[in-house]
């Protein structure tokens, strides 16, 4: 047993009355911690594309300009990081994944999101359609900062935030649910914060 460090407390303390919005084992943060498994890529917008692929085939691809012309929504969501911080009421601007997949005439039960820098994460199609996931390019009233995943990141607020891949560049349609980056290093294949699915086997 570690001795208690007299007078030491975690930086952020949870205000009363927010318990129902906090999944088990989570604590509120007022900041926006920056987490990353690698250096921040800086892809110029003129080189940026977003693609729906299936193996070697590109089903649909948008340039930045084309992407900006798609119908965008403002999203307000609580986000939950597996490192135990949650942030309530974050505001985003983005295009729903359902809109994107609808234009690609998809046919697959799973996707693997792929990103600048090589990060990947796996998701079931039913979790990213029906208005539950977006490709977000705005945060608060401005563009999404590079350190938070800009120019665009996935936003899947009902799953742990590692599923909301930063610097996302596309979705690869898959027949099977294969693990992405963190999922292959012991994190949960699905990652529901309300069932506290942090690690494989939870």
């Amino acid at each position: 047993m570690s001795p208690v460090s007299r007078g030491f407390r975690r930086l952020y303390r949870d205000p009363a009355g927010q318990d129902s919005r906090l999944p088990p084992g989570q604590h509120l943060t007022e900041g926006f911690p920056v987490l990353s498994a690698g250096p921040t890529p800086h892809t110029p917008l003129e080189e940026w594309t977003f693609s729906i692929t299936q193996g070697s085939q590109t089903r649909k691809s948008w340039t930045w300009q084309e992407f900006q012309a798609l119908p965008a929504e403002t999203i307000t969501a609580d986000i939950h990081c597996v490192t135990r911080w949650s942030k309530l009421g974050t505001q985003w601007r983005g295009v729903s994944v359902g809109t994107l997949l609808g234009k690609a005439e998809y046919d697959a039960p799973y996707v693997m999101a792929f990103c600048d820098g090589g990060y990947t994460t796996n998701l079931p199609i039913e979790d990213i359609t029906g208005g539950r996931a977006w490709v977000a390019f705005g945060y608060d009233d401005g563009p999404l900062e590079a350190e938070h995943g800009g120019p665009a990141r996935l936003l899947v607020p009902h799953l742990y935030f590692w599923k909301s891949a930063k610097w996302v560049r596309g979705l690869d349609l898959r027949d099977t649910d294969e693990p992405g980056f963190w999922e292959s290093y012991g994190y949960h294949i699905y990652g529901d914060p309300w069932r506290e699915q942090r690690y494989a086997g939870d």
């Binding site: 987490l35 498994a37 290093y185 994190y187």
Partner: protein, 83 residues
């Protein structure tokens, strides 16, 4: 966000390997670059600790702590030799 280097994870590596590892020689399995573990690029503001090659950026090691057990994946390394 600024990365740190392999010096910072010396304690965790002793936990994993039972020996001092920051002076150990590492060889990248992707580009073949060799250097002491201390000079590798370390990202640890993440669900786990990701150690990358300073030459090509490939992932060399990933360490994930769950309670008091650390899982370590060394599949990106061609070689790791304690001094």
């Amino acid at each position: 966000m600024d990365a740190v280097d392999g010096n910072a994870i010396g304690g965790m590596l002793i936990e994993v390997f039972g020996a001092e590892m920051t002076a150990a020689s590492s060889t990248c399995g992707t580009c073949g670059a060799s250097r002491p573990v201390a000079e590798l690029v370390v990202f640890r503001q993440a669900p786990g600790t990701v150690v990358r090659c300073r030459t090509c950026g490939s992932v060399l090691m990933v360490l994930v702590r769950r309670m008091d057990v650390i899982s370590v994946d060394l599949s990106g390394l061609a070689d790791l030799s304690p001094q």
